[in-house]
Symmetry: C2
Subunit: 469 residues, 2 copies
């Protein structure tokens, strides 16, 4: 099949005309109830709850069997108990649904018997022409077509795509990131991957014009070679930020009981990820840190960082971190130093790199803006790291003012040290919504810059073998 | 002088009967105004604003000169412009004040001339019997005696002590941590250290019965040998969490223009910190992470971690991180596995290490409590890492219930993955106030456990040369 056909086939799964929920429930605490609530919140139109014992659930007409539902059903979501999933899949096959999300767990991740049952279900589904997502997953989130996720990340459409073997990861990531002001195109939790797997969805998101940045959590990949080729092709045009779980022996053991995945050798993985140009991260916060940088900033032309800091001590520690990460914090040009001298108040601080705004950052916050402009215009600087001490709205406006004047856009990451967690938490969405990459710690901002630079080198290497500073 | 005399002499600085503020001001944006407001908020009784042009500032009687103030003045805080600081110090010498905080900057950190001026000021002060703190600092915070800091961390007394060569660090740390529910005994910003230095204050906090845990930020230490001996002695009984700025060449260059400190060779430092048993960190967030662990948890008896997780994917990644940090995530005893089997619902999840509570963590949150109890009672487990997905109050109560039943207390660190930043930010103070060490990312919680374990090994080594697992 051509690439376009493969894309079109998967794309239909994300835009079903009708959805049936097998195992829909009235009962609090049941996952069938949570899905009900989410579909109602999203306002999905042709939605059919199926439950043999109910005629109405949360005000929506319910059906005793899938066969009873009126229209053709494009997508079925199965949340029935483990021992009744096979029967549900058979119902789906008879109804000729196009795709089946099996949310229920208790299959391959529990051992050989569960694995056989999984294979049987896939055989039945595929014979009827249906594709299977899961089991042991939370399915697909697609705000533009009103498909919900469990924790309710909302209706807003964006351009971040997610593929995750962990349902919780996909769910929690979309909730956290949308609450911080960045929205998603699609998110897929593919669980045990009995049929469609993470590589299929990576390939899909790679082709998807709605998706600009991809985030992925995987524990094991069945076809390493295909994974390498697919992700390398995508990495040439879109960043893939990937957290690989099961890098250690104990971690791999945990992965087996989690998604039944064989995690593979850590050393092999490391090489594959690097050569495929994947942005490899090792924690949830690193996922966020990279997402905020890659999704909002251009790639840098080199490794030279200009640091502008309110607090002097943090500037020192951040300079250390940049150097340790392979970046440079070079002295500014004489012209830049002269301009900074004129722009900054004479007391305290430093007008070389790192710029120490000192108390002026609090007393005359416009120095933030002036320093950004001047440093961004230094040709010896490839990217900027700002450590701000004033609150979000003021800082956002100053940064936007500064950026609007700068011709050649350079990556800028911002650390917010504006007070207690509560106020910082409020300021994050404010800044991120305005396209400003923001961090709660300057060493994390430095790491994000180092990741941007590393990816810029990958792009240069694969595009034309051009040398790169 | 005996240790007790040295302690008593410094202790007087923290408990002045009267304070004069030279450079007190009415004007918004002036540091003399900020200090005024903070002293008023703290309700310090015998407080004398000094300003040649004012008779009253913010409703408080002001004095034209220090000589005009009524009582003897124990502590003088100087915030006048750089070129009038020498005169202010002379006034202090005539008034026979016991200690002078010079907040003003523009001395040794600007070059040789500033350094000479500093030395002259110290000579004059010492001749009159006064000690000097600063210049280029924000002085001392001591809630029990109502001495304020600039950003206003409040009146509550606690048992964390701080010594910092960076004023911003001390100020921001106390603000952030108190807003998270943990209070301070004393915090000192010692700036350029023209007289009293970080080692003096470390020694003081080491002796101070109010101080249980010490946090420090330093860029350069003048007497490395004394620093080593003092901090090693303290580390035998109290943890010192230290961020050393200026570890790289560029960082060291930045340190000189920040506090005039010579940062020293990174490799030498690394050895000194390790051998002195110092908990060495490299970012502001790492300071917080370690503080929350060391201040609230006991030291572990070994390196074996029991992980209890709501989300399965995070359990896998966290297991990886523990192993990479030199910890172990061993299988549980058969007895523990049987108990977990009985306590946890049969669907999904895993009853071995890491325990995957799966959806049960959301549907039946009491499994958090039951799992903690059971894992803590496994003799093969030295410390616990809990990854919770429910909100703060419920989680706090379940943890406290579990802990109240456990005889031998083991370190427990908690990761809160309960939703968007705003809600997590609200839950942090709730948990920390109850003595629960909490983290926003499980790999950071794992790092904190690794630091606890490393320090436990140091203690075992220095106490009796006993072997340690």
């Amino acid at each position: 099949m051509s690439k376009a056909t493969v894309f079109a086939k998967l794309d239909r799964i994300f835009h079903p005309r009708s959805v049936a929920l097998l195992g829909a429930s009235n009962k609090q605490g049941k996952i069938g109830r949570v899905f009900m609530e989410r579909f109602l919140e999203m306002g999905f139109q042709k939605f059919y709850p199926v439950n043999p014992g109910e005629s109405e659930i949360l005000g929506v007409k319910a059906y005793r069997t899938l066969a009873d539902t009126p229209d053709p059903v494009d997508l079925a979501i199965v949340v029935t108990p483990t021992d009744s999933v096979l029967a549900a899949v058979k119902e789906c096959a008879s109804k000729k649904v196009q795709a089946i999300v099996i949310a229920t767990s208790g299959f391959a991740e529990t051992g050989e018997k569960g694995k056989e049952l999984e294979q049987e279900m896939v055989r039945i589904a595929r014979e009827s022409g249906a594709r299977v997502i899961g089991p042991n997953c939370i399915g697909i989130y697609c705000p533009s077509s009103r498909l919900p996720f469990l924790q309710g990340p909302g209706k807003e459409s964006g351009s971040v795509g997610v593929v995750s073997q962990s349902g919780f990861f996909a769910d929690f990531l979309t909730l956290t990131v949308t609450s911080n002001g960045i929205a998603f195109s699609k998110a897929i939790s593919c669980g045990n991957e009995s049929d469609l797997n993470a590589i299929d969805f990576l390939e899909y998101l790679g082709e998807d014009p709605q998706t600009k940045t991809i985030v992925s959590y995987v524990e094991g990949i069945k076809d390493g070679r295909r994974f390498y080729h697919v992700s390398k092709e995508i990495s040439k045009k879109k960043p893939i930020i990937l957290w690989k779980g099961g890098r250690t022996e104990a971690g791999a053991r945990a992965a087996i009981s989690h998604t039944g995945a064989l995690a593979g050798s850590p050393r092999v993985w490391e090489g594959v990820l690097r050569q495929a140009g994947i942005i490899s991260v090792n924690s949830f916060e690193e996922v966020l840190d990279c997402l905020y940088a890659f999704h909002l900033q251009p790639l840098p032309k080199g490794r030279r960082v200009g640091i502008i800091s309110g607090p002097g001590g943090t500037a020192v520690g951040t300079t250390d971190r940049c150097l340790e990460l392979g970046l440079e914090v070079p002295r500014f040009s004489m012209h830049t130093i002269e301009r900074l001298h004129k722009a900054l108040p004479p007391v305290g601080g430093s007008v070389n790199n790192p710029v120490d705004l000192s108390l002026a950052s609090l007393v005359a916050p416009t120095v933030h803006r002036d320093a950004i402009r001047i440093v961004a215009e230094d040709e010896g600087i490839d990217m900027l790291l700002l450590i701000g001490v004033v609150g979000g709205k003021l800082l956002r406006d100053l940064i936007l003012e500064a950026m609007s004047d700068i011709k050649a856009r350079k990556p800028l990451v911002v650390t917010l040290m504006a007070g207690p967690m509560q106020s910082v938490a409020q300021d994050f969405p404010l800044l991120l919504r305005s396209g400003i990459s923001v961090y709660s710690d300057a060493t994390r901002a430095a790491k994000a810059l180092a990741m941007l630079f590393e990816h810029a080198r990958f792009r240069a290497r694969v595009s034309n073998g051009a040398t790169h500073k």
